[in-house]
């Protein structure tokens, strides 16, 4: 039984993440009065990319070649290390919140290096902007996780997910503040509005897209998939840490299925919110973004101050 659960835990992230991206696009299309692509379109895109040939720039080095693998593996690892639909799996080895933050930073590191490696203007600027935003977002990220950690008395993510929601209502307000702060960071790290437009390919507006512009074929598939995984991971963290309800407490077919279903519903709500946000606002000018991140940081700091 446990083996099946573990396998589901490992596979769930890469399996479901393209679906999330597809649903976001579908909702946005509907809001724009279009029919939009099928929600399974990202799967088809990945399949297509995996079966295409590649062109690699002659200026690229082994870093360019290895970066997609590292970025994707990191997201796999993190996806398996965070609570998705269960809370009884204890993971004291890789379930620490700081490890998650910095492991995702490894992904950002290699992504940015991959963008620099090809020596194009797009890649360079993409990396520059990405590192700027990532450096500033890290503060808010750590702080929002810290709020929840302090409320629960542990930085182990699984242990946090095991706790009662809002600790019986005592910490409602700090949790909500941290929730809002985490949302801002989520949008930054997953390259969504108002930070980045995942659909654009204009050099003035690209951040994530700029760094992976030169990739093609299998490597591009891995990069795209990794970005879907990252979105899924952040959504999972968002909904499970701040609202740890519906997670399976004990192993058993019923509880696991209920856990997965409730988890999917929560993810869907998160996806809906993101799609609504993306449809209602425009991308911000780049130098307004640090202010936004600073707001997130301050919100989280206030949340921490309100604990106790």
């Amino acid at each position: 039984m446990t083996i099946i659960i573990l396998e589901i835990q490992i596979i769930l992230t890469p399996l479901v993440s393209p679906l999330c991206a597809g649903v976001i696009n579908k909702i946005k299309a509907r809001l724009q009065n279009r029919k939009g692509a099928s929600i399974f379109q990202p799967y088809r895109d990945l399949w297509k990319l995996l079966h295409k040939d590649e062109i690699i720039s002659r200026d690229a080095s082994w870093i360019f070649r290895i970066a997609p693998f590292i970025v994707f593996s990191i997201t796999l690892l993190i996806g398996a290390s965070i609570p998705l639909f269960t809370s009884f799996l204890t993971n004291t080895l890789t379930g620490d919140m700081l490890l998650i933050v910095y492991a995702l930073a490894i992904g950002t590191f290699f992504l940015a290096l991959g963008g620099l490696d090809i020596g194009s203007a797009f890649g360079g600027f993409g990396s520059s902007r990405e590192m700027t935003l990532s450096a500033l977002a890290e503060g808010g990220f750590i702080f929002s996780l810290l709020t929840i950690a302090l409320i629960n008395g542990t930085t182990n993510i699984f242990a946090i997910a095991n706790a009662d929601i809002f600790l019986h209502g005592k910490y409602l307000f700090p949790t909500l503040l941290a929730f809002g702060g985490f949302l801002v960071v989520l949008l930054a790290e997953t390259a969504r509005f108002p930070y980045d437009n995942p659909a654009t390919h204009l050099e003035l507006t690209m951040i994530h897209e700029a760094m992976i512009l030169e990739y093609s074929g299998k490597k591009l598939a891995l990069m795209e998939w990794a970005s879907f995984n990252k979105l899924f991971i952040f959504l999972a963290l968002w909904v499970n840490l701040f609202f740890p309800i519906g997670l399976a407490y004990t192993p058993g077919v019923i509880t696991i299925s209920m856990g997965i279903i409730i988890f999917m519903i929560k993810i869907f709500l998160g996806v809906l919110l993101i799609a609504l946000l993306e449809s209602s606002m425009a991308k911000f000018r780049f130098f307004r973004l640090p202010d936004l991140l600073l707001i997130s940081f301050i919100l989280n700091a206030i949340a921490i101050g309100l604990i106790r």
Partner: protein, 683 residues
């Protein structure tokens, strides 16, 4: 067996190895090659001995305090005290010196025929000798002798490459700042002598109750400034970005990895050991200094395009992180929370070790690159990964370590520092909490900004196309340099994976402090796989992370490469160039990379931009011939802090100058008057 290794005789053998290396190197100065081999051989031998000695001391906890008789002066006694903290720092210096010396065998070759290699070997060995004396001296005056040896030897090495006038100026600034620091240290020691009556550290420690509180605070401030100059805290750091680039690279590595840590060592020794019990505001001051130094250090590093200045600023940043650990240790110890103080201290010690390793690695890598490129300007690098692949790989590991990416060692020491600060937030009350919240924020931002800075550094140096023709002439470094760097990279990796074992050894060192001995239960429980803080607050395991990451990589690689679409063809083509010619100007420069961050932080960094246009026709000003843009960062410290002091001192000196009439007779008259006055006042 261990007794013999950790005995005083063994320590003297250690000192004499370096001494012989120094003298022999000077005697062999006519022959570059033999001077190089001799000095580095003895440095390597001494380092190996030092490693053996320190590891044996730490494992067996067999500390030694001994005295060498024969001092002609009553206040100076050649007394040594090698306790666990000294042994730990001896371990650090031996480790770094070992690999820097191996590196130096190949590196120094490019100074042959230009400068005196014998002199370099002489000063190098004396430098290490001085540091060893500083770490083990138990008498204030003896300590100062070692401090002087260390400072003067490093000065001569900083100005070693004296063809470049900038280096000489940097050396002079370094010397002046060092002596200002030493003056403050002397003041601290003199005050201790005045109230306790001895320069001996053990006596001072037992007599610390005799100090009135006002004097104790002044001693704290003097020691903080004095040792802070050496450690490179802001605003006393102005010598660091000038002196570290000027010295030869293996010396920069030693200076940055070890010498600035002697300041930290003495701060730990004085504040946590000798002067206990301490008021809480001391820890608060140190914590604030840590916050400021770490943030400003990394921000200034982002503005640099000189590779070694960038690394020097990162040293300032990491000293700030170590001070975060030390400051919280001081705060917890004065609030009588020894368990938390222990945690913070272990974090600070671990980060000291880790920083020494990865900073030396980065400096050695920078040295290899500069050797080939003959310039320190990162804007002229680019694409070196194809010409110097091993150096690039080692530099990558160093970059990952300093950016605190798991599974390298930097992550684990920052993790521990974070944990100690988290505990502070969890346990302390409101006013102190906000300080710790601020510290966590500073550490979080520092980590992110350091990552950005090293993406910039690694990307500008090694990736993309060459930005100058010099790059195409670059060759991989000689084997000794690669061995030095490779070993440090391996250590960086190993100390990360085996962080739990390292931390358990560090716990021993932490427990050797008197104030931390009464810990009811350990807060840091390291089982064989990972680090764990008590009450299951946090735990992390480097080994598991590494294994799972490697496992995931292998699985992904197999699936993607071998299973899906095996018939894929990979073509090599040109980068997408939007139809124009590909040239180096298309790549982002390191200045451009960091410009966004500089603009965001423009309140702190005060960037300036200056346009100069040279027109063909100065009358009509329509057709520019050349246009120069100068980007700069405002030097706040020079203009607001040092310049007023300098002006004041200069005007004072001009007035005092009138005493100097140029006539020797007047001078002897001054002597006679001074003699009479002093005789009158003493008798």
């Amino acid at each position: 067996m261990l007794e013999i290794i950790t005995s005083p005789i063994s320590f003297f053998i250690l000192l004499s190895l370096f001494f012989v290396g120094a003298i022999g190197s000077l005697l062999l100065r006519k022959d570059d090659d033999s001077a190089n081999i001799w000095s580095n051989f003895f440095a390597i031998a001494g380092s190996l001995w030092g490693l053996l000695f320190s590891v044996a001391t730490i494992i067996s906890e067999h500390t030694a305090a001994f005295l060498v008789n024969g001092s002609p002066f009553p206040l100076l006694s050649f007394s040594f005290n090698i306790d666990l903290l000294s042994a730990f720092f001896i371990f650090i210096i031996s480790l770094i010196a070992l690999f820097c010396s191996i590196y130096a065998v190949g590196y120094v070759r490019h100074y042959y025929q230009k400068y005196n290699i014998g002199a370099l070997g002489f000063f190098y060995n004396f430098f290490i000798l001085g540091i060893l004396l500083v770490l083990t001296a138990s008498n204030g005056i003896f300590f100062l002798i070692g401090w002087e040896i260390m400072s003067v030897a490093s000065f001569f090495m900083v100005i070693y490459d004296r063809d470049d006038q900038e280096n000489v100026k940097a050396g002079f600034l370094y010397l002046v700042m060092t002596y200002i620091g030493t003056a403050f240290i002397v003041v601290a020691f003199l005050l201790l002598y005045k109230f306790i009556g001895s320069f001996d550290f053990v006596t001072i420690k037992s007599g610390v109750a005799l100090l009135p509180i006002g004097a104790k605070n002044i001693i704290f401030l003097a020691a903080l400034i004095g040792f802070g100059v050496k450690a490179g805290i802001i605003p006393l750091h102005i010598w660091l970005p000038a002196a570290h680039p000027a010295a030869p690279s293996h010396i920069s590595a030693l200076m940055s990895g070890v010498m600035i840590k002697t300041g930290i060592f003495m701060m730990m020794r004085l504040f946590l050991d000798i002067l206990q019990p301490i008021p809480i505001w001391w820890g608060i001051v140190v914590l604030i200094i840590g916050i400021i130094s770490s943030l400003l250090g990394v921000l200034y590093a982002l503005t640099e395009h000189d590779i070694k200045r960038l690394l020097a600023y990162h040293s300032i940043e990491n000293i700030g992180i170590i001070l975060l650990g030390l400051g919280s240790a001081l705060i917890f110890s004065s609030l009588s929370m020894p368990a938390l103080a222990f945690l913070s201290l272990v974090a600070a010690l671990f980060h000291t070790l880790n920083h020494a390793i990865f900073k030396s690695l980065l400096f050695l890598g920078a040295g290899s690159v500069i050797n080939q490129m003959h310039t320190r300007n990162m804007e002229e690098y680019g694409g070196l990964i194809k010409y110097m692949p091993q150096t690039a790989f080692f530099f990558l590991i160093g970059s990952m370590a300093i950016s605190a990416l798991p599974p390298f060692n930097g992550f684990f020491s920052e993790w521990l520092t974070f944990q100690s600060l988290f505990q502070g937030i969890a346990i302390l009350d409101s006013s102190m909490r906000w300080l710790f919240i601020l510290a966590v924020g500073a550490l979080a931002f520092t980590g992110g900004l350091a990552l950005a800075c090293f993406v910039k550094a690694f990307g500008s140096i090694f990736l993309a196309r060459p930005r100058s023709t010099e790059v195409t002439h670059a060759k991989e470094s000689p084997r000794s340099m690669l061995i030095g760097m490779g070993a440090l990279a391996m250590l960086s990796f190993l100390f990360g994976i085996f962080s739990s074992q390292t931390v358990s050894l560090l716990e021993k060192i932490g427990r050797s402090f008197d104030v931390l001995q009464k810990i009811p239960e350990t807060i840091l429980v390291s089982n064989s796989q990972g680090l764990m803080i008590e009450n299951s607050f946090s735990s992390v395991s480097g080994l598991t992370f590494l294994l799972s990451l490697v496992g995931a990589l292998i699985v992904v690689a197999i699936i993607i490469d071998l299973i899906i679409n095996r018939s894929q063809k990979i073509k090599i083509g040109a980068t997408w160039d939007c139809g124009t010619d590909l040239n180096p100007r298309m790549e982002i420069t390191s200045t451009g990379f960091a410009r966004s961050i500089v603009v965001i932080f423009k309140g702190i960094l005060k960037p300036s931009i200056q346009h100069t246009i040279d027109y063909s026709d100065s009358e009509s000003r329509y057709l520019p011939r050349t246009r120069t843009v100068s980007l700069g960062v405002g030097d706040v410290y020079k203009s607001y802090f040092y310049q007023p002091i300098l002006t004041m001192i200069t005007s004072l000196s001009m007035r005092v100058k009138n005493i100097q009439s140029g006539n020797t007779n007047i001078y002897v008259l001054y002597i006679l008057i001074a003699l009479l006055v002093s005789l009158f006042s003493i008798l």
